[in-house]
Symmetry: C2
Subunit: 275 residues, 2 copies
């Protein structure tokens, strides 16, 4: 069962007009929210970020926090996996034709729930491969928009190169992963790119920072040159489905992974999931 | 009547799954093709450009040129406007869930026809307003992709500023308009940004170049600095719906519009429409 514009219905019946601006223009925003043991994780933070994306794109937020909560609770009751992931998309709505005019439309709201498959600690310790490539995305990646073709092409690149993630650089500075935030560990200091309009303020990123501080690491949000990353002791990426994942190889260069520092941060991270 | 995945049906019945990757990821490409007096304009060129966009995004082209032609002919028979505009969109298709995996899907094809409203010469001569802003789009604008949120935001900016078009600059160099190509006239030479991966190879742009050459103007495809544009004698923009349109004001600066040189190019342009 999914939610579409006020109705709960089977996925096979969830259809939208070809004139929906989400379909014609990628004119929408979304959130992905993890659910651990039927507990929606940081719902307020995710709804706040959603509201920020809607404001930036001038799409009206159709629901209050409580209305979202009621819909999500009903959807989650019909899904029995231990951990789940909520996908929530809002588009500007259905126009009368493929016109660029878009005033006063009724937003389209689509929500679905899937099982969240999280890799366990044993699967993470050995680390995963990545490659670095040029960040060619638009400049406003702080907006979580459905105009995601660049990301689709990065996923294709990752699959073709048999790597887990594509790490992006712009003018020699690391921005983020194609669907993750990036951290480096250098001499017991954790560094991660500072939040600006060009990267997403990851909610998992915040948890990793919190976990690193809790384990007495120094954390710096600062510019990271590509060369800093390649010279780092360790590289990690974070996202709601990957949590905090060690990167063991970038191109030909190998990195230490799953060491004591990472284990401490990972362990503390787990305790935050029941917050 | 519109065309959707092999069927001709009323627009109100043209529905797609919410799992269509065009809706979830802006994972599709499109073309807009003018039709003058029931004559499809430069169909081969448009289909070639479509094929280029499909290759760049690794989406399979579902039809041959003749198959497209047959579908378009049938659609056009049901529309009686003098001039028409074909909108043709292809997405990667419907996935099983919102997964980034996308191998071996069947592309979604949606085509609709609307009346093409072209401004006549009298409406054009006085010129239109524009403003210049930073080009924040992704780097591969040669692909005509449906991930168009940036363009939607530029349209909103144009409406808020009561201007016809937003002209884009990157690092002090003009790229193109939000939905047009840009030309300047300086001392009887026409200049337009040269085609590279960051701008669309407009088919109307080619016609304007051809018309300018036919009327004995020198044409240079080269970098145009923002200051060159502001110092130009005239500024024009081109697109299939605007043809060749004079810009009479950018910010506070006014420009001459509708003069003899523009009239010659405009007149020659009209003769190319029956090619």
């Amino acid at each position: 069962m999914v939610f579409l514009n006020g109705e709960f219905l089977p996925q096979k019946d969830a259809k939208i007009s070809t004139l929906d601006r989400g379909f014609l223009f990628g004119d929408g925003v979304y959130e992905v929210i993890p659910v651990y043991n039927q507990n929606i994780f940081k719902l307020t933070e995710h709804l706040n970020r959603l509201d920020g994306s809607l404001r930036a794109t001038k799409i009206k937020n159709p629901f209050t926090g409580n209305e979202y909560k009621n819909i999500l609770t009903k959807l989650l009751k019909n899904n029995f996996a231990k951990n789940q992931t909520i996908y929530l998309q809002i588009t500007r709505g259905v126009g009368e034709s493929r016109s660029h005019n878009f005033k006063n439309l009724t937003p389209t709201i689509y929500i679905r729930v899937d099982e969240l498959k999280i890799r366990n600690k044993n699967e993470l310790v050995c680390g995963f491969k990545a490659i670095i490539t040029k960040d060619i995305r638009w400049n406003n990646c702080y907006i979580k928009s459905t105009s995601l073709l660049t990301n689709v092409l990065y996923v294709e690149m990752a699959q073709a190169n048999l790597v887990e993630e594509i790490i992006l650089e712009k003018n020699g500075i690391i921005t983020e992963g194609a669907s993750s935030n990036v951290f480096i560990l250098s001499k017991n200091t954790i560094k991660t790119p500072k939040i600006n309009g060009e990267i997403l303020a990851g909610i998992t990123r915040e948890m990793v920072i919190k976990s690193a501080i809790a384990t007495n690491l120094e954390v710096k949000e600062c510019d990271i040159k590509t060369s800093d990353l390649m010279d780092a002791d360790e590289v990690w990426i974070s996202s709601s489905t990957r949590e905090v994942m060690p990167i063991s190889q970038i191109g030909d260069k190998t990195f230490s992974s799953g060491g004591e520092v990472w284990q401490q941060v990972y362990n503390h991270f787990q305790t935050l999931k029941s917050e």
